[in-house]
């Protein structure tokens, strides 16, 4: 058993003294693992992601990236290991898709370096893999939501990371694009061996695509482990205040959550 890629140990975080947003949060993301982070609004999911990629500093505890505390790793080095995919982001200037994806190469280049043939090849591959190769010369403003989402993934891929953090990336996508998105994620995970931590509101998508789940409730980990252990009717009732039915999905074999009534 090697070190986990990402190891979260007893993390506390607070924006204001006395109002803890995260309390003693612990879990880990192993080598080549896909972990889903779920929890109701305000449970601290997005804050946790920001702590994980070093944008916010924990008040106590530590986030270890292959055994090293994230807070002691410089931004550039961190960006070579951890890539974040945003949910939807305005692009205020007319950058082209190729330029956006090339921004993923930033942490690999020295200050005055222009991109070399290697970088161009890596960017081409990333665009190919995410299916935006044909859009390389288009401006971001001209793309659909699904296309833009794939550009953000391509940019993350161009960073050549070991871990990808995804923050509710599918909320603005229709059901087809949601599935395409997660299929792509799975493919990347298989072919590149990238560990993935994704945040989502959709417990069914989480159940289907994650290997393990972490259920967050008011800043604390309520349950963590295999999907069947986390997605129980009891857990969901306790955390979401909602009566649900959990059964086996007839075709995927993963848990299926059907909402019944809000309590």
């Amino acid at each position: 058993m090697t070190d986990p890629v990402l190891d979260v140990r007893n993390v506390d975080f607070t924006y204001r003294p006395g109002e803890a947003v995260l309390r003693r949060v612990s879990f880990s993301v192993g080598e080549r693992e896909i972990v889903g982070l779920i929890g109701p609004n305000g449970s601290g999911k997005s804050t946790l992601l920001r702590v994980l990629d070093g944008l916010l500093k924990p008040a106590a505890g530590a986030v270890l990236l292959r055994g090293r505390p994230v807070s002691r790793i410089g931004r550039e080095e961190l960006a070579r290991t951890v890539a974040a995919v945003p949910q939807e982001q305005p692009v205020p200037f007319p950058y082209r898709v190729r330029e956006i994806v090339m921004m993923g190469r930033f942490p690999h280049l020295k200050r005055f370096h222009f991109e070399g043939p290697d970088d161009i090849e890596i960017v081409r591959e990333a665009m190919e893999m995410t299916g935006v190769g044909g859009l390389a010369d288009r401006k971001m403003g001209e793309l659909s939501g699904g296309e833009r989402q794939r550009v953000w993934i391509a940019r993350a891929l161009a960073q050549e990371p070991e871990v990808m953090l995804l923050d509710e990336c599918t909320v603005f996508l229709d059901i087809r694009h949601q599935l395409l998105f997660f299929d792509l994620l799975h493919r990347l995970h298989r072919t590149r061996g990238i560990a993935v931590l994704f945040v989502t509101h959709d417990v069914n998508l989480a159940a289907r695509y994650a290997g393990r789940l972490v259920l967050l409730d008011r800043g604390e980990v309520r349950a963590a482990g295999p999907v069947w252990d986390v997605l129980t009717e009891r857990n969901i009732r306790g955390v979401y205040g909602t009566e649900v039915l959990v059964d086996r999905h007839p075709s995927t074999g993963t848990p299926r959550v059907t909402t019944l009534a809000a309590l």
């Binding site: 944008l55 931004r75 942490p107």
Partner: protein, 336 residues
């Protein structure tokens, strides 16, 4: 983006600037035959070779050349500062004056004019520069306070600072004498007639230093333009970078404004034109803005000198008259 593309396009735009300067040397109230003038420009520095009279040579080299160069430096300063502010604040409507540097410089200049500094040759620009720099200082205070320098906060504080300073300017104008008033109006509209070799050299020095600082961060600036969180996630150490760039861009603006007065539209429009033509990558965008801004303002100033010759328009009138309609056209044609 490759270094060759940046160099190639920069060279091209430098040639455009050279052409504008030559045309500017040939135009003016005193007409000089075209062929003579051309030979004079290229051979004039050799003793005995010039076909121009001593008076003509004086006009071309001691009056028109420093003024064209100075116009170029002011244009470059405003365009580069505008581009940097637009990217840092992620706001396509930002310009070099957005944080109040112009207002501060104007108050300084008005004080100088009212205090009679106009009789000293460097008086008014010195006052204006001091005023501009003093406006930047509270900005540094705001910037230092939180680790995160929110662009909305900056924009709003700029609006407020400018509003306050406008009131001070109006007050100073209301107590000014008639002669002072005319001086003040020309300064406020932007006017390059005070430009000499010394101003061109000083402005050039400040611009060069500022440009080096800004261009060193051209690549991370691309990411900052996408959003600060994104920039950090992609590996930019934001601390220091924003403050460094805000200060450099503000100083470059203050230096330009201190002599030229408040020339509008160059710093807003040139970055948009350059982005439309060459894209938004700042490694090319900044030099393109510098060179085209220089050409644009030198051309506008030539027009200002000659349109109603032998009298002169303030160059700010020309830039606003050309700039505003063009900008509306841009807005209608496509999104920025």
């Amino acid at each position: 983006m490759t270094a060759y593309r940046v160099l190639g396009i920069s060279l091209l735009l430098a040639l455009v600037f050279l052409a504008v300067v030559i045309v500017s040397l040939l135009s003016g109230a005193v007409s000089i035959p075209f062929a003579d003038a051309l030979r004079g420009i290229f051979l004039g520095w050799m003793p005995g070779e010039s076909p121009l009279t001593a008076a003509q040579r004086d006009i071309v080299f001691s009056i028109r050349l420093p003024r064209a160069l100075f116009a170029g430096i002011v244009g470059a300063s405003l365009a580069v500062a505008g581009a940097v502010f637009q990217a840092l604040l992620r706001n396509p409507l930002a310009d070099p004056y957005v944080l109040g540097v112009s207002g501060g410089s104007a108050v300084g200049a008005m004080l100088g004019i009212v205090a009679g500094a106009a009789s000293l040759s460097v008086g008014v620009p010195l006052f204006a520069f001091a005023g501009g720099v003093l406006t930047i200082l509270p900005l540094v205070g705001i910037a230092r306070k939180g680790s995160d320098l929110r662009s909305e906060t900056l924009l709003l504080s700029g609006v407020i600072v400018n509003a306050f300073l406008s009131a001070v300017i109006l007050f100073l104008l209301s107590v000014a004498s008639r002669a002072e008033l005319r001086n003040a109006m020309f300064w406020l509209m932007g006017d390059l007639s005070a430009a000499g070799l010394r101003e061109a050299a000083a402005g050039g020095l400040v611009f060069a230093a500022g440009f080096v600082v800004l261009y060193a961060d051209a690549r991370p600036l691309n990411l900052v333009a996408m959003g600060e969180e994104t920039a950090r996630q992609l590996g930019v150490e934001l601390e220091g970078l924003k403050l460094r760039m805000l200060l450099a861009a503000s100083l470059v603006t203050a230096a330009a404004v201190s002599v030229s007065g408040i020339i509008g539209f160059v710093g807003l429009m040139v970055p948009h034109m350059m982005r439309l033509v060459f894209g938004a990558d700042h490694r090319l965008h900044l030099p393109a803005c510098a060179l085209f801004g220089a050409s644009f303002l030198a051309a506008a100033d030539t027009l200002a000198r000659t349109a109603v010759a032998p009298s002169e328009l303030p160059v700010g009138v020309v830039t606003a008259l050309c700039g505003a309609p063009y900008f509306i056209y841009l807005l209608r044609r496509r999104d920025l």
